[in-house]
């Protein structure tokens, strides 16, 4: 390990754990996920009373929406916020306090500073996601009295990994802004704007774009409907949230056969579908989501690479 990396990670972790900011956001997310899991658990229990239990019932804790949204949707929306909050002032706060040049005048390489900070953030995210999932699993055991199967545990594990990558991606974005902007307020706002844009506006934009590209939206020609759906899909895949939602939905819901949300079927087709409605094996689910996971990692790596280059080139002047 590079010299000083461990020291910096250790210090960053201590800072994170003792900061109010992290405590507040962690409490908020833990509370919301607890409530969600509790309501979903009760729901499932009531609905399934006296009915033969379907397979993979345990995973329904994560996917079915109780009162408002499911846990998976919740993490997709608000997980990025955790990454942003952890990272938006990483470098510029140190710059403003004059501690960055102190750090850099010690015998460590410059990249160790951002690597250490990024890794410490990833550890925080992992701790948070794992504890939330553990709490929900425990709660599910209590409420429903069902033990998750081996495959279900694997799927939950994969879900965790994808979620950690997804939130780390936003951490990378936040760190990038903290390097580019001198003021912490500016970097926080820029990161928030980015989050809102990719989480809410891309799907809106996709529809507008599709309307513009396909001539007539009222057309009932199946080819045209398909083209339009494809445009929407392709465009919305630029959003990490879309990538994440599709990937996790496939992993955590074995009944899903593809990442596509729209399947157009005739009546005969749906009958034949119903005959083959068994769950997808884990290996096949993984096969479907691998490209999505790779895209997520690629975006994270690109963000980090840009941060790295910008940081290495920045002049240490009057800091």
């Amino acid at each position: 390990m590079a010299q000083g990396l461990k020291t910096i990670i250790k210090k960053e972790l201590a800072d994170h754990f003792s900061s109010y900011r992290f405590t507040i956001i962690f409490a908020l997310i833990a509370m919301l996920s607890l409530i969600t899991a509790y309501m979903v658990g009760l729901n499932i229990k009531n609905e399934l009373a006296g009915v033969a239990k379907p397979r993979f019932i345990f995973l329904m804790l994560f996917t079915s929406s109780g009162a408002l949204f499911s846990l998976v949707q919740f993490v997709a929306f608000f997980g990025p916020l955790v990454g942003l909050v952890l990272g938006f002032d990483t470098i510029n706060r140190e710059r403003n306090e004059g501690t960055l040049s102190k750090l850099l005048s010690q015998p460590i390489y410059r990249d160790v500073v951002i690597n250490g900070k990024f890794l410490a953030g990833v550890v925080m995210i992992a701790v948070m996601m794992i504890s939330i999932v553990m709490v929900i699993t425990g709660l599910g055991l209590l409420i429903m009295g069902i033990v998750p199967g081996f495959e279900e545990l694997w799927r939950i594990f994969l879900y965790l990994i994808i979620s950690i990558i997804y939130i780390s991606l936003w951490l990378g974005v936040a760190i990038l802004f903290s390097i580019v902007f001198r003021s912490t307020a500016t970097s926080a706002l820029a990161a928030l704007a980015m989050w809102i844009f990719f989480s809410f506006f891309v799907s809106l934009g996709a529809n507008i774009l599709a309307n513009a590209l396909s001539s007539d939206t009222t057309e009932s020609d199946p080819d045209k409907v398909m083209t339009r759906a494809k445009i929407v899909k392709a465009f919305s895949l630029t959003s990490p949230m879309e990538l994440y939602t599709d990937a996790t939905a496939t992993i955590i819901d074995p009944m899903r056969k593809s990442t596509r949300s729209m399947v157009s079927m005739g009546p005969l087709e749906s009958i034949s579908m119903a005959r083959f409605s068994g769950p997808l094996p884990l290996s096949q689910s993984i096969l479907i989501v691998v490209p999505y996971i790779i895209s997520l990692i690629a975006i994270a790596v690109i963000c980090f690479a840009i941060s790295y280059t910008v940081f290495m080139r920045q002049e240490i002047r009057s800091m």
Binding site: K11, D15, T99, L104, S105, Q106, P107, I108
Partner: protein
């Protein structure tokens, strides 16, 4: 005093946005010396220090610190130089012990060796009673002394002190000056001291260099400069008068 050069630069130049912040700077600091690095604000003193530390790349010219090239060997150079920067740059939420432990770890000083070194360093600078206090609650003078303690933790052979007496009250200034002298005397450190407190500089520095607009206009022992400028010994003229003379000429 030996005459081995610890710091050596040759036509060192740094250009920011087309303007030369440091312009063909050539100077030498010898071993065990306290070198007074003088000059108005914005003359390029800090930039020179950053280049000698390997934090900023020179546009042209050469620099040698302890025989090493700071641009090529920044890690080695940084492990041997203690840099007390103008704004100090301490984490306000840490206490003195945690801060020094952090610096020690980054320099490979860990375990019980680090703890004893931390305690003796804080004793030397007179901060042992404040060891558990958060740095955010320290006065400016205390922070400066903590900065000196940091140099002791690193056990550096060379110290760059950038305005160590800036904004200190007279009592704290005297304490700081005594500390700096003891560093050179007891720890055999070579010290590059940048300051505006000309009286103090005159008291403790062996040689001085005056830098104006990125250029070193003169360097040498103070009495030699007095001799050159006024034709008399330093008893007659204060460093302040010499400095002003050069400043007006530039």
């Amino acid at each position: 005093m030996s005459t081995k050069a610890i710091i050596e630069t040759h036509e060192l130049t740094k250009i920011y946005n087309g303007q030369a912040a440091v312009d063909q700077l050539t100077f030498i600091v010898n071993e065990g010396e306290i070198f007074g690095f003088l000059g108005p604000n914005g003359a390029g003193k800090t930039t020179t220090l950053l280049m000698l530390l390997g934090l900023t790349e020179p546009t042209s010219g050469k620099a040698r610190v302890l025989g090493l090239d700071p641009t090529r060997d920044p890690i080695k150079v940084k492990s041997r130089i203690g840099y007390l920067q103008e704004n100090m740059g301490f984490y306000p939420d840490l206490n003195a012990r945690q801060m020094l432990r952090f610096v020690g770890e980054l320099n490979g000083v860990t375990g019980s060796a680090a703890e004893t070194r931390i305690e003796s360093a804080l004793q030397t600078v007179g901060l042992f009673e404040e060891i558990g206090k958060k740095i955010g609650a320290y006065s400016r003078g205390m922070r400066q002394r903590l900065g000196i303690a940091e140099l002791l933790i690193k056990d550096s052979k060379v110290a760059f002190l950038d305005e160590p007496t800036l904004g200190l009250d007279p009592d704290a200034t005297n304490r700081m000056i005594e500390l700096i002298q003891s560093l050179a005397r007891d720890q055999h450190m070579t010290i590059l001291l940048s300051s505006h407190m000309l009286q103090q500089v005159q008291k403790i520095c062996h040689r001085i260099g005056i830098m104006i607009k990125g250029k070193m206009v003169v360097q040498g022992p103070i009495d030699q400069l007095a001799q050159e400028k006024f034709g008399v010994g330093k008893e007659k003229y204060s460093l302040e008068q010499i400095y002003m003379k050069y400043f007006q000429e530039a």
